[in-house]
């Protein structure tokens, strides 16, 4: 008997369209996401590389870089000579000691190859920076050998962008220092052991202020104000998942209780759903606020500490915009969840469909680096203007403070249109699906019915 029941239940379940669609559709959709993400990664790789190796300029007041370059030239000459000598005596340059010698010389040459624009004075370099000819300017001050501090000037400091520039200069300096400075053998060994100039040099960062003057950047505080939006975007995702339950249950309640048809006769379905999205999202946001308030001492203390220690920079416009996108994103994903609620046969099926949506806001998080490095690049714009990824993408972009206001306005507008369209579609699905008496609604059937009311 149990066997019969098991067999019947099994066959009944696997023949359900919803089951089939989930079983085969979910992997396809996840695959599409993976493709989307790889696409972003590929597109991002370029931007990232260009971000990391921004065009930089160098002002060297010590002559150390020149020394390094001379040393490199000498090394290159030595390398060639060695190769030629090896060729004449018939030694294999690809083997043994000879090879490692050649490799070391080559590595040194590669490191010192100057791809930086050279400027004679800080003033000339700054002019070029302001004019956008270069993205960063490294100043090696006269007192470098005493203070071992480099100055790095940018238009706007960013956490990842152009970090390699001072690093590159540091390596050159390292070579130069070894070449030029009168060092004891011990000192030389000590410097070499710290490797590639790390720890030898500090970098002081400057950025162009609003008043056109270069100001020193408090990197710690800036890092915090950089990471915070990412954290908030993360909270958005978690909050969404919580709200999803509410919304699905909200639609399921009316479906199960057969209240929809009466409601349809009183209000327009899209108004009904929009009301649901707004009401339930407001409830979920309130919940977030209350949870925030309940652990208030914690963030408050953290804030105080951060404020004391790192002089956290509040940027009012970005913050307001981030809040706006948080709410809009919440509503948008909410409207998608309502649509899913209208689509699913039962709560379990709806929940499965909803994973598809819950993954959407994760996509921009994958492009994290790219969004921060080139906040106005193609990838960033596409992700921010495409409603399904808009909210988290915008929150990350806003962290850079480089997003023009009109750009944010376009993203917000598109997101609002996205909410509207999504509610319209959900309404249509609900209307058709709700009236389908006994037939199990599934996405294909829906699609057909959506076209004729």
């Amino acid at each position: 008997m149990t066997g019969t029941i098991a067999k019947y239940e099994f066959l009944f379940t696997i023949k359900r369209p919803g089951y089939l669609i989930l079983t085969f559709g979910l992997p396809v959709i996840l695959g599409m996401y993976a493709g989307f993400i790889s696409l972003i990664s590929v597109a991002t790789a370029g931007a990232m590389a260009s971000g990391l190796s921004a065009q930089i300029g160098v002002v060297d007041k010590t002559g150390l870089i020149e020394a390094a370059e001379q040393a490199a030239e000498e090394a290159e000459a030595t390398r060639r000579a060695t190769e030629e000598a090896a060729a004449t005596i018939g030694a294999d340059p690809k083997s043994g000691k000879l090879k490692s010698q050649l490799d070391a010389l080559e590595a040194m040459v590669r490191e010192v190859i100057p791809d930086a624009q050279r400027y004679d004075s800080l003033k000339a370099g700054r002019v070029a920076l302001e004019a956008g000819e270069i993205d960063g300017l490294v100043l090696v001050p006269e007192d470098y050998l005493q203070k071992r501090t480099l100055d790095y000037y940018t238009r706007t400091w960013q956490m990842f962008k152009g970090l390699s520039a001072p690093q590159q200069v540091r390596r050159q300096l390292y070579v130069g220092v070894l070449e030029r400075a009168e060092l004891t053998a011990e000192e030389r060994a000590m410097i070499e052991s710290r490797g590639k100039g790390e720890g030898l040099t500090e970098t002081a960062y400057y950025e162009l202020g609003l008043d056109g003057k270069f100001l020193k950047v408090d990197t710690l505080s800036r890092t915090v104000s950089f990471v915070l939006p990412a954290a908030v975007a993360g909270i958005l995702i978690v909050a969404l998942l919580i709200n999803a339950g509410f919304l699905l249950a909200g639609v399921a309640e009316e479906k199960e209780n057969k209240v929809f048809e009466v409601l349809f006769s009183m209000v327009r379905v899209d108004h009904l759903l929009m009301g649901k999205v707004l009401g339930l999202s407001a409830a979920a946001l309130l919940q977030l606020l209350i949870w925030g308030a309940m652990i208030l001492p914690l963030p408050f203390l953290t804030f105080l500490v951060i404020d004391q220690v790192v002089d956290f920079e509040w940027h009012a416009t970005s913050l307001l915009l981030a809040a706006l996108f948080f709410i809009l994103g919440f509503l948008f994903y909410g409207s998608l969840f309502v649509g899913i609620g209208a689509l699913g046969n039962n709560v379990k099926e709806s929940q499965q469909y909803s994973t598809i949506i819950a993954l959407l806001p994760v996509v921009p998080m994958v492009a994290f680096m790219s969004l921060l490095n080139s906040p106005n690049g193609i990838v960033a714009r596409v992700l921010a203007w495409f409603p399904p990824t808009s909210a988290p993408a915008m929150m990350l972009r806003l962290a850079t403070r480089e997003v023009p206001l009109w750009d944010a306005a376009v993203a917000a507008l598109l997101l609002i249109v996205g909410i509207w369209i999504s509610v319209k579609i959900a309404a249509r699905m609900l209307l058709v699906g709700g009236m389908m008496r006994g037939q199990s609604p599934n996405p294909l059937k829906m699609l057909r019915l959506l076209l004729n009311r």
Binding site: E253, K258, E261, S265, M266, M435, R437, R453
Partner: protein, 321 residues
């Protein structure tokens, strides 16, 4: 309130699975009447009602409300209508007063107005004590009452009840009947769909019968019944008028004898002859078949042949209107 369908059709699905749910149906109904939409299950009644409420849109044809084409798409129309759907439910987990206030608010009423309308209805339907309870704690009959109250809380101009009697207990059947008559008497239009014929005779002023989506009968209830009846009078069962001069034939039915009269003879002639012959008359009524019989013969004959040619009786009614 006045409504009219003008050649309205609606089909579902496509290809081999296409179902024509409503096929070129026209009718009119105005305030102060109870308009019955009759037909067997699957005839297209619910689809017609849903089109009236703009849940579905017709494939072709027009719907007028108060003479306005597509007037049923306006919010103002919805606000004037009460709808009790065939499949009806309530929010199970909410409190009754909350549900009433929510529905009232959706109907555009403020809290005071809701309260003043709600109390007499609740008292009449004996629900006052349950106000603070959850809907899920109500018995089936009680929740039916609540649904009925909710449908008319905004004092609508038109009641649309889809199969209102199915699943109702006798007490609630009576309540619905009272509610319907009361609204009719106050000049409202009541449209009800049903496949229960006894209710039609008890309630409806005008009827439209549809079968396979087509209109097969339409008109004032008595007219329809008269036109579909070929005998002229009925008498009580133990009274047999056979052999009287004006009588052609007598057909025995379950509780009545149906009498066919000679051409030109009237009920008055029959009455006189019955009295003269001292037959035990306790009941003498105009010949009118019960709507149920008409329904069965019309629906049956429509189903027998092609659905297209209307039956002879139906034709007769159409002409008589």
């Amino acid at each position: 309130m006045q409504i009219a369908f003008d050649g309205v059709s609606k089909s579902f699905g496509s290809g081999a699975r296409r179902v024509v749910a409503v096929n070129d149906v026209s009718f009119e109904a105005a305030g102060g009447t109870v308009f019955g939409i009759l037909g067997p299950n699957g005839a297209g009644k619910t689809t017609m009602i849903r089109m009236l409420l703009d849940v579905f849109r017709p494939d072709s044809g027009r719907i007028h409300t108060d003479g306005v084409v597509n007037g049923n798409r306006e919010l103002s129309f919805r606000q004037r209508v009460a709808y009790l759907p065939e499949e009806r439910g309530l929010y199970q987990k909410r409190k009754i007063s909350d549900v009433i206030h929510y529905i009232g608010a959706l109907r555009g009423m403020d809290r005071d107005l809701i309260r003043t309308r709600m109390m007499p209805l609740l008292e009449r339907f004996d629900l006052v004590d349950s106000l603070k309870k959850k809907v899920s704690t109500l018995s089936k009959g009680m929740s039916q009452k609540l649904q009925i109250i909710l449908s008319v809380i905004h004092d609508p101009d038109m009641l649309i009840f889809d199969e209102p009697f199915s699943g109702l207990d006798p007490v609630n059947v009576r309540l619905v009947r009272e509610l319907v008559r009361e609204h009719r008497d106050r000049g409202k239009l009541v449209c009800l769909s049903t496949h229960m014929m006894a209710e039609v005779e008890a309630l409806c002023d005008r009827v439209m019968m549809i079968d396979h989506g087509r209109r097969v009968l339409y008109g004032a209830l008595d007219e329809v019944r008269r036109a579909n009846t070929d005998f002229q009078a009925s008498v009580n069962k133990d009274c047999d008028p056979t052999g009287l001069p004006c009588v052609v034939r007598v057909v025995k039915d379950v509780d009545l004898n149906h009498v066919y009269l000679k051409d030109g003879a009237t009920i008055n002639d029959l009455m006189r002859e019955l009295a003269a012959a001292k037959r035990p008359v306790r009941r003498l009524v105009e010949g009118m078949r019960p709507i149920e019989d008409i329904f069965i013969s019309v629906a049956g004959s429509a189903a027998d042949g092609d659905a297209t040619p209307p039956t002879k009786q139906a034709d007769a009614v159409e002409r008589s209107l």
